[in-house]
Structures are given as structure tokens and as C-alpha cells.
């Protein structure tokens, strides 16, 4: 797994790439929580994730919960099919706010 953090339109955008598995999810968790610690609204870009396991999902859940407690906007964007299958199976697609892209998030009035 690799990651990239960009700031755009007031959002931190964390782009995860590759396999977010038990070996790599601690890194994903750290980068997600780091952004939220800086009080930045966060979008996690999963468009290049080929595989995500429950530990990777747990990192997203932790980010989601922390953002709620801090009243920061949090969402997933461009979720790949592989990641979407995992989220759907666990019905987490109904929990995480999911958008096609950052632009789609900005247009959304939620």
C-alpha cells in the first residue's frame, strides 16, 4: 500500500493505493487520524484500492468515529469495486458518506 495526502478546497484528501491489509492498515490509520487531529475535514480516496480487509475497514471506521466526535466532515470518494464489495457485505455503505469525487462532495448540500 502507498498513500498520498493533498489539501484541496478546504479538505484533506487521503488517497490510498494498493492493498490495505493487516500489514498496512496501521499506516492508513495513522495518516487518517493525523489529518483529523489537525481539525481538517477529510475525504478518503479509495479509487486505487485493490483489496481491503477488516483491519483496513477498522481504520476507516475509526476515522469516521473520530470525525463525528469532532464534528468534522468525513467521507469516502471514488470507492473501487473491490472496496465497495467489502463495504456492501458489511452494510458499511450505509454508514460511511460515499461520494463519486471531491467535486461531487462539494456539490452535495448534506
Amino acid at each position: 500500500m502507498s498513500y498520498q495526502v493533498d489539501e484541496k478546497d478546504g479538505y484533506a484528501v487521503v488517497r490510498l493505493t494498493g492493498e490495505v491489509d493487516l500489514n498496512h492498515s496501521p499506516e492508513a490509520r495513522r495518516v487518517i487520524l493525523d489529518c483529523l487531529q489537525k481539525q481538517m475535514p477529510l475525504l478518503v480516496d479509495l479509487s486505487s484500492v485493490d483489496y481491503i480487509d477488516s483491519s483496513g475497514v477498522a481504520s476507516l471506521v475509526e476515522g469516521y468515529q473520530l470525525s463525528r466526535s469532532r464534528q468534522l466532515d468525513f467521507g469516502l470518494i471514488g470507492v473501487s469495486d473491490a472496496a465497495m464489495n467489502v463495504l456492501r457485505l458489511a452494510r458499511l455503505d450505509k454508514v460511511f458518506p460515499i461520494y463519486a469525487s471531491l467535486e461531487a462532495r462539494l456539490k452535495d448540500t448534506r
Binding site: S54, A58, V61, E62, Q65, L66, L89, A90, R91, V95
Partner: protein, 561 residues
């Protein structure tokens, strides 16, 4: 005076050559010059003449009868030895003590004399010209004196340089002066127009003579290098290193044995006194080699002792580590036992319900449970805690206990999961969650009521045929407080209901391929004729392979309609 750039010394910055002495040195090597001519040159400098006579009559040369005149001295000593003698005297006087007021010049010359004496002793053993070797030994570090003369603010560093071993001294010089005594010495030797073999020996006794150097000059460089280390045995702080390197070098360059080397070092103290008197140097009491060796061995003994102590400490730490590891292993075993006690007895069956759990680690995040209710129905569940290790195991223990406790009074799986969700959310660590399928099976009516919180789909099979799947209709427990957990109600008829954790789908078949959903359905179909407990065992055997190593916990629960 300001410090000059030491790598580009101008002739004017170097001590001036003593003209009479240099003329004599060259005359000594010219053909056709006889003892009388040399005597005439010497007599032009009465101070030099007196000095020569004094040295010639000293115990250093040890001639039987007294030498009364300069021409006689020249004849007895020989032209070559005379040349060296003159050079030594000229160098000795080239920089007078008053030119280096704060510098312990006597200490410098004592160290130089020791190198000279060492070189002369060595020459005797390996059959080289004793006076030539003595001269090189005396002059080889003269460059250092020049450097101190030019950079007197460095004088305080003398002791460090003096007590360093030769190689360390050379490095230290580079740091302090941006040059070293070889380079400065060589420049001086050239400037004074000294014989070529001396220019090379003074300038390359550390670096080694270049290719095509005459064999005798190469030997002279080696003598200088060895003499440096022999002298370091007496002056260096690390005497053990000096003795070791000295023995190694003498063997390498001259095939000298350890006993021979020690024998040479034994002679040094005695010869030092002789040579000091002959050349008019002030030297302190000379330590005997035996005493030096004893001190070095004492240091070795102390080092060995502290090494032994370190070993003991290390052993103690290792013992402590093993003890902690054993304790941890015991604690983990206890934790595992507690976890096992939270699962139904292995191979146990309650009215058509069987289950199986294998953990990849000492403790597991998976669990399943089933028990018979007062109504005759069977309550069952399967769950997987996110994450691995002790925190997952503890959340598993908490969730399974809650399930056991609440499940006996709350018979509606929807309400039960909602209650568990709230309990877990109240106290759980952020980011941890539990996927769970929970249900009630009525063996009489064969009806099943099932709710799924983010868990993998439950599978209903009829023999080899997939009837349908029941995927999650709600998120895992422990994520959102307001979540609802709808249940489904269906008749199992004579079908089989399978619940499993992701460890089963991700387990690898022989050949390394993951089982995945299709593989599981195929396995379930293949073993559909086996009795319930055996069926589960067949499935586990297929994914466990020969090594038995698993990446993840694996749990499987089956209900026979």
C-alpha cells in the same frame, strides 16, 4: 604568528639549513673526498668539531681507545657514519628551544631518540646499516616539530599526539594541522637538499615507498615504521595495541619472532641512556620493557574482568527476558483457556447445531455460541471482532459474555443485536467493531429467525444445491448508535444453514489459492453427505493444508434443518 597554509610551505617558513653541516653531508658522499678533506671542513666549525669528538669517544660508539683528532675520528667512524652523525647534530640544533618557548622540546627529542635507538637495535638484528637507521629514526618525525614551530597555538595538543599510536597520531595531525609530519618532513629534507634515501624515508615511512625505490631505501622506510611502533610501546597510552602491532609489523617486514621482538624492546632502555649522553639530550628515567608489558597485561586483565562482568549482566538480562516470555506465554495460555471456555464444547451438538473454531494465534477475535432455551428453541450466533491480538480477544470475551447473558432473556435477534450494539459502543475502543449474525432456531417447526450485523452472508444449502444467502442488513456492532438490525424469518425445511467468518474465505487451499465464496460453496456441496461434525472437519481439513499454519482465525457454524 599567523598560521600558514601547511600544505604549501615556503622555504622561508622552514628552519634554515645549517650550511657547514650540509656541505659536510654532501662531501661525505662524494667520490674522491678523503678523510683529510673532511677533517678540514669539520675544523672550520669548532663547535661541530668538539661535538664530533665527544660523540666519537662516547659509550655509544664504544671504541676501545680514545680518539684524539678529527682526521682520526673520520677514519675510525667512517665517512657514512660521520655523515649521519653530522646530520643528527645539525637537526638537533636546527630549532632551538627558545624558538618554541612553550613547547617541551626535551620530550620531543626523547621520543625521537627512542625511535632512533629502536631503529638502531632493529638494524643490528636484520643486518642493516646501524647509523643510517639511527639517523632515520631520529629525523623521521622532525616535521612535527616544524609544525608546532609554525602553529604554536597547537602546542597544547602535544601530549595527545605524543601518547597516540603512530597511525592515530598521523590522523590527529591531519585534523590539527591539515597536513602531517611526513609531508612537512619531506619538504624540509628536499629544501635542505638531503640525500634521496633520507627524503624518501622521512616522507614515506607511513605511506610506504613508491614503486622503483631502491631496495635499501625501502628497507629504511620499513625500519622507520617499525621503530615508530617499537617506541610507541613505551610512550603510547594504549600499550597493549602498540605491543601487538609492533610484533605483527616486525614479523611482516623482517620475519622477526615474538621472542626476538621482545628481546629488542628489552634493549631499548639501556641504549637510550647511552645515546642521550652521546648526543647531549636530556632524557628522564627509562621504563623497562618488562614493566611496560606488565602494565599492558594488567590493563588486559581489567578489560577481561569488565568483559566478564558484561557477560554476567547479559546473561542476567537474557534470563529475565526468558522469564518474562515464559510468564507471558502462561498468561496467553490462560487467556486462551478462558476463551475456549466461552465457546461451546468442541464437537458438541445441540439439536442439529454444530460449530468449530480454530485460532491463528494464541488468542482469537472470532467466536460462536449456541445453547438451548427454556422454550426448546436453540439460540445461536457467530461473530468476528475487528483487529487481531489481545484487544480483539478481550472485546470477543466481552461480546460473547454479553451475548450469553442477554440472549437468554431477549429472544428477538433484532432487539438483541441493538442491545449489544449499544453496550459495545458505550465502552469499546474507537475503531473496533464486531460483525455478528445471531438467530433463533426452532427444531420443531424448523423456523429460523436471523439478524445480521455486518457479517458475511449466511448460506442455505440443500444437499449440493445453493438455496439462498442471507447477507447483512445492518452495519457491524459498535459503529453507529442509531443503527437498526432487521431480522428475517424463514423455514429451514430439510436444508442446512451455514455461518462462517472471513478467516474461512481467506484461508488458502493447497497450491496457495484463497478459498473465496465459490470455493466454499463447492466444498459444502462436495461434503454434503457427511454427518454434521465430520462435514465441518472435512471443510477445515481442505483449507488447513499440511502446514496447519493459518493467517486468520476461522470459525464455522452449521444448523441442520
Amino acid at each position: 604568528m599567523s598560521a600558514p597554509a601547511m600544505d604549501t610551505l615556503k622555504p622561508t617558513e622552514l628552519p634554515a639549513p645549517p650550511q657547514e653541516a650540509i656541505r659536510l653531508v654532501h662531501a661525505c658522499t662524494q667520490e674522491g673526498v678523503d678523510a683529510r678533506d673532511l677533517g678540514d671542513i669539520i675544523c672550520r666549525d669548532p663547535t661541530l668539531a668538539a661535538e664530533l669528538l665527544r660523540v666519537a669517544n662516547s659509550a655509544y660508539f664504544g671504541f676501545a681507545s680514545e680518539i684524539g683528532s678529527i682526521p682520526r675520528a673520520v677514519t675510525v667512524i667512517g665517512q657514512k657514519a660521520l655523515r649521519n652523525l653530522v646530520l643528527c647534530l645539525a637537526m638537533r640544533d636546527a630549532l632551538r628551544a627558545e624558538q618554541l618557548p612553550a613547547f617541551p622540546v626535551e620530550q620531543f627529542w626523547e621520543a625521537a631518540l627512542r625511535r632512533a635507538v629502536c631503529a638502531r637495535c632493529l638494524a643490528g638484528l636484520v643486518d642493516l646499516d646501524a647509523e643510517a637507521c639511527f639517523t632515520v629514526g631520529l629525523l623521521q618525525d622532525f616535521g612535527l616539530l616544524v609544525m608546532f614551530h609554525l602553529m604554536q597555538h597547537r602546542i597544547s595538543e602535544w601530549r595527545r599526539l605524543h601518547e597516540a599510536t603512530p597511525d592515530a597520531r598521523l590522523e590527529l595531525e591531519r585534523q590539527l594541522f591539515q597536513t602531517n609530519h611526513e609531508q612537512v618532513g619531506q619538504q624540509l629534507a628536499r629544501n635542505w637538499n638531503l640525500p634521496t634515501e633520507l627524503v624518501i624515508a622521512m616522507g614515506m615511512h607511513h605511506a610506504g615507498a613508491p614503486a622503483n625505490t631502491p631496495a635499501a631505501t625501502v628497507q629504511l622506510c620499513r625500519v622507520a615504521e617499525c621503530a615508530d611502533w617499537m617506541a610507541a610501546v613505551f610512550s603510547a597510552e594504549d600499550k597493549r595495541l602498540a605491543v601487538r602491532e609492533c610484533r605483527r609489523l616486525l614479523d611482516e617486514h623482517f620475519g622477526i619472532t615474538v621472542e626476538q621482538c621482545d628481546g629488542l624492546l628489552d634493549q631499548v632502555a639501556g641504549h637510550m641512556q647511552e645515546a642521550a649522553i652521546a648526543f647531549g639530550f636530556q632524557v628522564g628515567a627509562q621504563p623497562e620493557f618488562g614493566e611496560v608489558l606488565r602494565q599492558a597485561n594488567m590493563c588486559l586483565l581489567e578489560e577481561n574482568l569488565s568483559f566478564q562482568e558484561m557477560n554476567w549482566q547479559l546473561e542476567q538480562i537474557l534470563r529475565e527476558r526468558d522469564r518474562v516470555a515464559a510468564e507471558l506465554a502462561r498468561e496467553l495460555e490462560l487467556a486462551r483457556e478462558v476463551q475456549r471456555s466461552l465457546l461451546p464444547a468442541e464437537g458438541g451438538e445441540t439439536r442439529g447445531v454444530v460449530g468449530l473454531n480454530l485460532s491463528a494465534r494464541e488468542v482469537s477475535g472470532d467466536f460462536y455460541d449456541f445453547y438451548r432455551l427454556r422454550t426448546g428453541q436453540v439460540a445461536f450466533c457467530i461473530a468476528d471482532v475487528s483487529g487481531k491480538g489481545m484487544n480483539a480477544a478481550m472485546l470477543m470475551a466481552k461480546t460473547s459474555s454479553l451475548y450469553r447473558c442477554l440472549g437468554k432473556s431477549i429472544l428477538d435477534p433484532s432487539r438483541l443485536l441493538a442491545m449489544l450494539n449499544r453496550e459495545i459502543l458505550e465502552t469499546s475502543i474507537r475503531g473496533m467493531f464486531v460483525t455478528m449474525s445471531a438467530g433463533i432456531f426452532d427444531p420443531e417447526s424448523r423456523r429460523v429467525c436471523l439478524a445480521n450485523a455486518g457479517h458475511l452472508p449466511s448460506v442455505v444449502m440443500h444437499g449440493r444445491r445453493l438455496v439462498r444467502e442471507y447477507p447483512a442488513d445492518a452495519p457491524p456492532l459498535g459503529i453507529v448508535a442509531e443503527a437498526e438490525f432487521p431480522s428475517v424469518d424463514f423455514c429451514l425445511e430439510d436444508h442446512s444453514l451455514y455461518l462462517y467468518t472471513d478467516g474461512l474465505l481467506e484461508a488458502r487451499l493447497a497450491g496457495g489459492r484463497r478459498l473465496e465464496r465459490e470455493g466454499l460453496l463447492e466444498l459444502l456441496a462436495r461434503h454434503s453427505d457427511a454427518a454434521p461434525v465430520e462435514r465441518l472437519q472435512h471443510i477445515v481439513a481442505a483449507v488447513r493444508g499440511d502446514s496447519g499454519v493459518m493467517d486468520d482465525d476461522l470459525t464455522l457454524l452449521m444448523i441442520e434443518g
